[in-house]
Symmetry: C2
Subunit: 148 residues, 2 copies
DNA sequence: ATTGAAAATAGGCACGT
DNA sequence: ACGTGCCTATTTTCAAT
């Protein structure tokens, strides 16, 4: 991980479809060299994937909510996570320090769907309670970190 | 937005660097047709960007935390958001319903950096208080929604 | 450095309005 | 007749080794 690697990562973080040729021009190497570096970054799991960013409203998922999950004492944390994983509306899942063991970011199309989602979550084995807050707007999301 | 568009979106959501040629094969169209569709999806802001997913630990940002921000009555919400935006450690920022007006997802390398970050946030004009919780682990993040 | 593949672009055809 | 969406054909650029 030298400066050039960092520069490559930085470029791909915001323009993941950039060609190797273009990357090469920007970092001052040849295309094969850059290909080799990117392959190595992928192999070392510095780069773990490439995603198109989708406007969720455009695909009928206009509501974003955060749901804290309080687990029941004595339940297996991993089992709770596995159960939550089955629920496709849960875009992100963090195991947290604090009273709420999990924090979920979810997306749904309607309030009715959110209600249904919360009831499904609250019925999962090991789940003692939920606390839902709604995002009125997303100011920004998944902004790349500038560690350069 | 027909079924083919949805399929293209779905493919790019998980493999953003897939070539137009490969996309074309998968959806049963020619490469130029797919290019045209993708260009239109970008123009209509259904696809808003392409990002490489980076293993944050690998770039020295091993700590993920969530910070709720209580704003002071009478302060301009937008100004608070603008001030927060200047802080690069804040990867996501949601304007929330509830007591905490903003919820931030932040990444730092060390606890000392987190402490410094929280103090900077708490000093911003309009910020009345902060509540920080730490992610012990990320089970998953930015998982694509299956609206297909 | 070379070869095959893909991207980009232009032009035309068919369909539906 | 016009816009739309797909195709083919060609040139240029890129990927891969």
């Amino acid at each position: 991980m030298d400066d050039i690697d960092r520069r490559i990562v930085q470029l791909l973080q915001t323009q993941a479809r950039m060609s190797y040729a273009e990357l090469a021009r920007q970092v001052g190497l040849t295309s094969p060299s850059v290909q080799e570096r990117v392959a190595k970054l992928e192999r070392n799991e510095v780069i773990t994937g490439y995603r198109a960013e989708i406007n969720s409203e455009a695909i009928g998922l206009g509501i974003t909510a955060l749901i804290g999950i309080v687990t029941i004492a004595g339940s297996e944390y991993a089992d709770v996570a596995d159960a939550i994983r089955e629920i496709t509306e849960v875009e992100s899942c963090y195991f947290m320090a604090g009273e709420e063991s999990y924090l979920l970011k979810v997306r749904v199309g309607t309030m009715a769907e959110l209600e249904y989602l919360v009831t499904r979550l609250s019925r999962l084995p090991g789940v003692g309670g939920t606390r839902t807050t709604i995002a009125l707007s997303t100011k920004w999301e998944s902004r790349p970190q500038d560690r350069s």
